[in-house]
Structure formats: C-alpha cells, structure tokens
C-alpha cells in the first residue's frame, strides 16, 4: 500500500511540475490531498503493521502523520493565497507546488520509516525539497539563507551518518547487523558504553539541525526569515516534528542500555540552553518571523526537557509537539496576511493592527494567549506536565532556570504582540487592499483544535500517545 502511495504522489508531483494550467493545478492539488488523507486513514486503521519492507505504521509516526495531513490542507490553501498576491510567473508557481508536494511526501516517509538508514535518507531529502521552497522569492537574502540552511543541514546529516556507521561497526560483532528500529536494541546489549555515548552524541547533533535544538539552531532561524510564510509554517512545525521523531526514535533505541542517565543529561542541557538562547534573542528581536522562530526554539527546548525528565514527560513532550504545531502554523499563516497589510516584517515599523484588520488582530491576540501557555490553551497543560516531570525527577536547578527564562520569553512575546496590536503612536500608511477575513478561518480552526485538545483530549489520541511511550522505561 505504502509503495503505491509513494508512486501516485510522486506522479502527482511530477505532473504539477510540468503543468502550466491553473485549473489543472487545483485539480492535482485536491487529488494529492485526497491521496494523503486516504494514506493517513489507512495508516491509522493498520496500526503497528509493517508495510512495503521499510515502513511501519507505529503510533508515534501515525500521530505526527495526522498533524501533517491537517496542516497540509491549510498550508496548500495559504500557499495558494500567498502566490495569488505575489503574482509570480506560472512556471515558478508550478515549481513551488511540486516542491511542496514532494516535501509533504518525504516528511510522511520520514515519520513512518522503520529503518534507520531509510529515516536518514528521507531526512536528507527534506533538506533538498525545502531548500527549493526557501529560495522561492529569489532575492539575495533568500539565497544567503538557503545556502546556509543547505550547508548546515548537510554537515549535520553527515555527522549523523558518521554516528550510523559507528553504530554499524559497534554491532557488527553480532553476526548479521539489522538496522530496523525493532531489531537494534537487542543488538546493543554487549556494546561498550563509551561507544554508545559517542554514537548517541553524533546522531543527536545531526538531528538537531532539523529539530532546531541548541547546537544547530541557527540554520532554521535564518531559513524562517526569508521563506514564504506558509513554508515557514511547515519548517517550524512538521519539519521540526521530523527532527523530534528521529530524536525520539534514537532515544528509544538506546533507552534500555546503561547510558540512559547520560542521554537524559545531554538532552536536558540541550533543552535548557535552547530556552536560554531563545530568551536572550527574543529580548532584542525586531523581525516578526524571527521572533516566531525563536519562540519555536523555546518550545523545542521544552520538549527536549520533557523527554529528558522521563515519566509523564515523554507523554507531555509528544503532546506538546502536536499542540505547538497547530499554534505555530496559525502564527505564520496570519503573518502572511499581516505582511500584505504593512509590507514589512519589522515590528517597530508597524502598529495599530487592531484597527486595520480586526479578524487578523483577534487571531494574534488568541495566539499570544496560546503560545505563552495561558490556561484555555492546550499548551498550558502540557507545559504543566513537563514541569511536573521535572519536579518529580528532582531537577530543581533546571526547573528554576526554565521557569525564569520562560518568563523572559513570555515578557518579550507579550510586549511585541501588544505593540503590533495596539500601538497608535505612529502615522502609518493605510493598507492598499481591504483585509479579507475568510483567510483567518483556518487559524481560528487550528486554535480551536488546540483549546479542544487541551480540555478534552479524545480517547483515540490518548491511546496513540500511550502506545508511543509504552516501550520507554518508566
């Protein structure tokens, strides 16, 4: 089944690339969404089944596949709006949508990969397909960002590959090395712990480029600055989920070896430093998209801390990633409309958004509540669980530091968002076009999901989450 999905969607991607007709393109995109949705439903009803050799519909993959499918509807819609306003040539629109389809397919494969080598290949492919999209605006600045993104991600993925080779050398003692995630833990029993530590470190550094954790967070930030807003929404949600899934799988793989404690220390440090870095930059940032990017880094840090503190933290980290995806995607969709209104991303050159676009401003206000994890938002409960896990695993110092720097982040985000919404001290040029409130419906929808999932998480989702963390040590 999965192989048919791959073939069909790649064919649709190729057709989108070659097609120059507007109506046909819309038909192709709808067709792709149907295929993607069918695949997701099929995966959900065939949970924990292996398919096409190298793929497996396990709980963790299916959860994030659902998130991806929901967000691909909204992203394709907003890409359409974005391109309509930019008046790009038909050719560059075809390239854009083809790359977008390939990106979605590749991310689906990365979520569902059941083999370390396959996961690695698809992570590499995400870099290539997203690079085309980041470079869409064809300005010197976007070239610079694309160059940095491709280069840093390539080096990161090479470092991961060194880790994988060392892993294969380490487990070669057992006669046949098998690299599926199911078979690796059994082969790790006799491996020297210092080897394991080295392998884990190398693999994590590479995956951090995708997730945006501390040592390699810069690539993602620069990419956000120039990427089209709907693509930024993908980079900061589903693509970071790819990094999260790979780190989570690596962690699961090693979690029954003696290095568990050491891995926790590494992830804890990486997480807390990510929060500190984002807090420091948020204080002085003036670019709206960079601000949202740093806020993503902060949430990734929280998720890493959640994994590292164990217990309910595993569950909370995955839940946090899901909710964060919906919130952050709606931020970037709204930023697109915001940019068309002001023609700039610089916070200090804007203001009084409430009078210019009521529907959009309400979205920003709700986002502010959601992203700083105030109670109706689902992120409140996940952050509460993460801090609870920190507390019960007696990491008091990290607990206090995380709370302190989170407060700094909340202060900066609130200050900037309120400035955008209510500051009336500037004489700004009126917007050229009347804002269209139908464009905000998707954001209200996503934010409603966030609130709903926080208050009343559906039964099937809880089961999936419990299934995903069930292999980890308690």
């Amino acid at each position: 089944m999965f192989i048919y999905y791959l073939i069909i969607s790649l064919l649709i991607g190729a057709a989108t690339m070659l097609n120059r007709n507007r109506v046909v393109r819309i038909v192709l995109l709808i067709l792709f969404l149907v295929v993607q949705t069918t695949m997701t439903i099929y995966a959900y009803y065939h949970l924990n089944e292996e398919n096409s050799g190298y793929f497996k519909f396990d709980a963790l993959g299916v959860i994030f596949l659902c998130v991806l499918t929901i967000l691909s509807y909204t992203t394709i819609y907003h890409s359409y709006v974005y391109l309509k306003h930019r008046k790009d040539s038909i050719r560059s629109q075809s390239i854009y949508f083809a790359a977008l389809i390939i990106l979605i397919v590749v991310m689906t494969c990365a979520y569902l990969a059941a083999h370390l080598g396959v996961l690695w290949v698809f992570i590499e492919l995400t870099t290539l397909s997203v690079a085309v999209l980041i470079y869409h605006e064809r300005t010197p600045l976007s070239l610079e960002a694309t160059w940095k993104y491709v280069f840093i991600c390539s080096i990161g993925i090479t470092i991961t590959f060194i880790g994988i080779i060392l892993l294969s050398i380490a487990i070669q003692e057992t006669n046949i090395a098998n690299f599926s995630f199911k078979a690796i833990p059994a082969q790790l029993i006799n491996v020297n712990t210092s080897w394991l530590k080295m392998i884990f470190l190398l693999m994590i550094v590479g995956f951090c480029t995708k997730m945006g954790l501390f040592p390699m967070q810069t690539a993602a930030i620069d990419a956000h600055t120039v990427a089209p807003p709907p693509i930024s929404a993908f980079i900061s949600t589903t693509l970071m989920n790819v990094g999260f899934v790979s780190i989570f799988r690596t962690y699961t793989m090693f979690s029954h070896t003696p290095i568990l404690k050491w891995m926790n220390i590494i992830l804890m440090l990486s997480g807390i430093i990510s929060i500190i870095v984002s807090a420091a930059y948020l204080l002085k940032v003036n670019h709206l998209k960079r601000m949202s990017a740093y806020s993503s880094i902060e949430h990734m840090g929280l998720a890493a801390i959640g994994i590292a503190s164990g217990g309910i933290g595993y569950f909370a980290a995955i839940f946090h990633m899901i909710l964060h995806s919906f919130v952050k995607a709606s931020v970037f969709y709204q930023i697109d409309q915001f940019h068309r209104n002001f023609k700039t991303y610089m916070i200090s050159e804007t203001g009084n958004y409430f009078n210019r676009n009521k529907a959009g401003a309400m979205v920003f206000l709700i986002i502010l509540i959601a992203i700083t994890a105030m109670p109706p938002s689902g992120l409140f409960i996940t952050e509460f669980w993460i801090f609870k896990a920190l507390f019960t695993s007696s990491h008091m110092f990290i607990f206090i530091a995380a709370l302190f720097f989170l407060t700094v982040c909340i202060y900066s985000l609130t200050k900037n968002f309120l400035f955008i919404l209510f500051n009336q001290t500037k004489d700004l040029l009126p917007a050229e076009e009347k804002p269209n409130s139908t464009e905000t419906y998707t954001q209200y929808f996503l934010l409603a999901i966030v609130v709903y999932l926080g208050i009343n998480p559906p039964e099937f989702m809880i089961n999936l989450l419990n299934d995903a963390v069930s292999i980890l040590p308690k």
């Binding site: 080598g117 290949v121 600045l141 280069f151 590959f161 080779i165 003692e173 210092s194």
Partner: protein
C-alpha cells in the same frame, strides 16, 4: 597496500593545508578520488559484483572526474581569483592539520577495540576534522564546498571499513554524495556567482538580528 593508500590520503590532507591555488585543491580532490577507488577495489572485491561496479564507478567517475571538472568550470565561469585566501598563514595551517592527524592517531589508538580497523578510522577522522578546518579558515564560498567534499571522502572511508558486512552503508554514503553535490554545486554556485560579485563569505552576513 590499503595502508599505503590511506597514508597517501592523510598526506594529501597536509598538502591541502599549504595549497595556495584553487586548482591545487581541485587536483588534490581528484587524487583523493583515485585513492578511494583503489581502497574500495581492494576492500570490496568479495561483495556482489553489480554493487561493486556501482561503487567503483561512483569513485572513479563522480569523485575523480565529474566534480573536479565541474568545480573548474564554476571557477572559470564566475571568474573567481585563483588564490584560496586563507585567514591563517600557511605555516599555521600545516601545523594545525598535522595536529589533527596526530590527534586522530591518538584517538583511534584509544578507541580501537576489537572491531574497529585503526587505519581506516584514523584517515576518516583526520579527513572529517581537516575538512571542517578548511571550511572555517578559507574565505571563498567555493572552498567551503571543497572542505565539505573532504569531509565526505572521510565519511566514505569510514563506511568502507564497515562495508564487508553492510554494503548498504556505502550506498547510503554515495546517495549523500550525489544528492548534496548536485544541489549545492549545480544550483547554488551558479546563482551565488550571479548574485554576489565577489564569491566571498563576507557576502553572507546580512541575516542577523
């Protein structure tokens, strides 16, 4: 024989430290491609013939001919000056690369257990670190790519050391080679040459807070 080839490989890294002209860098990369061809021929002679032909073809055609020729073409087309313009004097570069090789020697002696092959590990580690060193100390964007190619050669050697039991790893490494090279070389260097007059790293500092 393998050892001699790997030692030659390590020496070529030192030569890269003092090389002044971009064409010398390209020649060294081609030489490394030939060395890798030799090593993989000796090491992998027992594996499946089709796979062996594929790997040998990749080393001799891709690493030795295609990439050096393409780099030459890029340098001519964008009229890049032929100096590598390092930030450090040559003498210090050589000292540092020698120190890197010495360090990898010590490290591979420490970690070499029963299963690792010391010579491969040494050469690979030295290549990875020298590549990173070349990336950070040279001014031009094109030398970044050369440093990256050196890193990839190192990774290739490392994957060869595990290849007898898992030839799939070498194939994965080759996909890395091809994907990244095609994208990075093919698309970006042409574009960067058109957009920025001087292909220097100093053009890449506009994105900041």
């Amino acid at each position: 024989m393998t050892n001699i080839l790997l030692i030659t490989f390590a020496i070529s890294l030192i030569y890269m430290g003092i090389a002044n002209r971009l064409s010398t860098y390209i020649n060294i990369l081609a030489l490394q491609g030939i060395i890798l061809f030799g090593v993989s021929f000796i090491e992998l002679i027992q594996i499946n013939t089709l796979n062996l032909i594929f790997i040998l073809f990749e080393t001799i055609f891709f690493k030795t001919l295609a990439i050096p020729l393409f780099l030459n073409y890029i340098i001519k087309k964008n009229s890049i000056t032929r100096e590598a313009e390092p930030y450090l004097p040559d003498f210090i570069s050589v000292v540092i690369i020698t120190a890197i090789i010495l360090g990898s020697f010590i490290l591979s002696n420490i970690v070499s257990g029963i299963f690792i092959r010391k010579m491969f590990f040494l050469a690979a580690l030295a290549a990875v670190f020298s590549g990173l060193f070349i990336i950070i100390t040279r001014k031009k964007i094109v030398t970044h790519i050369m440093g990256y190619l050196v890193i990839e050669n190192g990774v290739f050697i490392l994957s060869l050391s595990a290849a007898n039991k898992m030839p799939i790893l070498v194939n994965l490494g080759i996909t890395l080679d091809i994907f990244v090279s095609v994208l990075v070389l093919g698309v970006f260097v042409n574009r960067i040459g058109n957009t920025f007059e001087e292909m220097s790293v100093d053009n890449l500092n506009n994105l900041k807070d």
